[in-house]
Amino acid sequence: MSEKNLTRREFLKASAGAVGLAMLAGCAAPTPQTVEKVVEKVVTATPAAKQTTLTFFNWASAEEVTRKNVEKIIAKFQSENPGVTIKNVPYGFGEIQNQIIIATTGGNPPDVMQLSSNMPFELAGMSALEPLDSYVTKEYLADNTPANLQAATYQDKLYAIPWSITPHAFWYSKKMMKKFGLDPNKPPQTIDELNAAFKAIKDQSKGEVYGMGLDTTKRQYALVHQWPWMLTFGAQPYKDGKPNFDAPEMVAYFTWLREITNQKYNPPGLILRDFRQFSAGEKEVFAWDGPYFKGTLASINKDLLDDKVFHETWAVTSIPKGKLGKAVTVTDNHELAISKACQNKAMAFKFIQALVSSDLAVTDYYIPLGSIPPLKTLTDKFKDKFADPVSQAYLKDVIPSSQSLPFGPKFAAASEFMLVAMQQAVTTNDSIEKILKDAQANLKIVYGL
């Protein structure tokens, strides 16, 4: 009999080692290799004999409100273009950027992709997108709002086509304003009037109803949410190609933000979704939200499904004016772009046109989503569909006051420091001047200044 048989003790030792290794395996960081392995194998477009497959990464198909309507547009496009197959790949909004970057780095990018905010700039910075200037006519460009084109232009080249246009605007509950002794037909026109309204609401409701919610979380979207308010205070966080975060106007804005949070006019640490719950439940009088506000509120409070009831209860206008002296908002668009590696770019652009400017897109995408089409010709052609007070306010006041954010490949890293500074201002009693000075120093490093 051999002496080398495993004893119980040795077996237990080996087991302990195995458990230790298993723990380490569980602890292993998500390296690029492990990530690359989970990237879905996607069939890219090939120029095979009259057969074209275009992959389309988008979050519109991942959301219940828009999924069926996007599929409808795709089906129509395929029937009008025999031999073309659209491979629709839905990803949630929160993960689509990672998926596109990983697929692109792995050499297998989607042909067409839905983008938003800073995504076109990061991908253009990676040289992953096809410039679209040669695909669009001057007339097409003129049909768009300059700010919306600016929000998709990097180093003077257009990298994405504006799709649905959803900038934030100032919503006010006429019903609640009346309840708290405010004139429901006179929403606050200035920051001073807004502050006075906040105080009246708090006093009258004994602190049970909030004035307005501004997203103060660490999400990059919180910056998009707050940016127009910074501009209203006369601040230009990024000026002439350089960070300008410690300007006196930024001090004024952060001081105001701290004050409205400390006074509990603005509930801290919540995201836009939470504020909509408050608005639907009559716990918040004003809202800073997009044109889809009606749809989201009606999904929570069914009474608001009735247009008449909704328009009697809520109305929308431009942001109250501050030191800037004029109303302003920022672009918050969904865009469509084509990968540089796409094998059939002409067909990909034709598909984008079907998504952006077809009649079906208006009736079955923009309107159900509650967004505004980017093209003036479309809103003119379907003017009866956009004749309601909300659409009119957006078309006449809000969209023309849009500005693009200073997006770019370094914006993600920069936004981290801006958000940290914002949270320091809201959650601590530290000197705002010092907070902004520190943030400015970090931003200079990010931008290599």
Binding site: M1, S2, K13, M23, C27, T105, P268, V426
Partner: protein
């Protein structure tokens, strides 16, 4: 005759495998597939991750990776967020383990008594342990909600606070909220381990000590604790390792904020890699984090070996 010859040959062939050299060879052959798979799924990513830590590698940079050698490690020394994350990691893990330990021990002692429905109670006490981290995160996000959270409601009802506190939006409160959620989730594991230990103590020992005049506290201190000592140490190390890499709970509740108050090393690595796409520096932080985990794992294995030897 032939039958006999065959039998002898067969025995000789078998005997060959009993020689130490051949036995080792057979063992290596048998474990080779497992080693190959483990090497591919564990060792290769680790080595590759260590290699990435020596590069300037941003996915957003079209120029691709360039050598950084040890610059990323030098950068860590200046990186305030790294040091804050490191402190948060130790604080989160240490506090979670400490409070779960105390809670688990108290529960185990309670359930070790002959209480009515003790089996049912044990089952109920285990429920938090089987709830996934993600669900615990969402659950406690609502429990600590600024407006409708039950914590604010109770504290106001008892007059502890005058107005609702933004638990997840204040740097000094957020870590408390996250640790509370984690302790709720992990206490049953300690309870389970300690209860098993308590039930393995021979009752004769306790009886003898009582007859000799020891009071319950002395019995607990001189008999129960020494018997539980090994379980305590091993469970603590195991849970330190588990808490060191607890990502989903913190991510769901605070995403590492406000500011960096709940940013632990795993959260920081995730942000560097998948928000900034700075894979080179993320790998550097991950290597340091992994070294710390390996030290803890080594402690755990050594302690486990000692227990077996006893």
């Amino acid at each position: 005759m032939s039958f006999k010859v065959e039998t002898i040959a067969w025995r000789k062939w078998l005997a060959r495998w009993h020689s130490p050299w051949n036995e080792t060879g057979l063992a290596m052959l048998l474990i080779a597939p497992a080693v190959a798979i483990m090497g591919f799924v564990i060792l290769y990513p680790l080595v590759r991750g260590a290699y990435l830590s020596t590069l300037n590698y941003s996915l957003l940079d079209p120029a691709g990776p360039t050598p950084a050698y040890l610059n990323n490690y030098g950068k860590i020394l200046q990186d305030k967020v790294f040091w804050e994350s490191l402190w948060n990691t130790f604080f989160f893990s240490g506090a979670s383990v400490l409070f779960s330990f105390i809670g688990g021990l108290l529960l185990a002692i309670l359930l070790d008594q002959n209480l009515p429905f003790s089996r049912v109670l044990r089952g109920i006490c285990l429920i938090p342990w089987i709830v996934p981290f993600i669900v615990v995160g969402f659950l406690f996000t609502y429990i600590f909600n600024f407006d409708v959270g039950v914590v604010n409601y109770i504290l106001r009802a008892f007059g502890v606070i005058d107005s609702n506190q933004p638990w997840l939006a204040r740097p000094n409160l957020a870590m408390t909220a996250v640790i509370t959620a984690n302790v709720w989730n992990q206490t049953p594991f300690y309870m389970l381990m300690f209860l098993a230990g308590l039930q393995s103590i021979p009752s004769e020992l306790k009886d003898a000590a009582s007859i000799d005049g020891a009071n319950p506290l002395q019995v607990f201190w001189n008999i129960t604790i020494p018997h539980l000592q090994n379980i305590m140490v091993i469970t603590t190390i195991l849970m330190l390792i588990r808490n060191f890499n607890n990502f989903p709970l913190i991510w769901v509740m605070t995403q590492g904020g406000p500011i960096y108050s709940t940013t632990t090393l795993v959260i920081y690595i995730f942000r560097l890699a998948f928000s900034d796409f700075n894979f080179g520096y993320a790998a550097t932080v991950a290597v340091i984090w992994l070294v710390m985990l390996m030290v803890m794992t080594a402690l755990y294995v050594r302690r486990f070996e000692r227990e077996i030897a006893l």
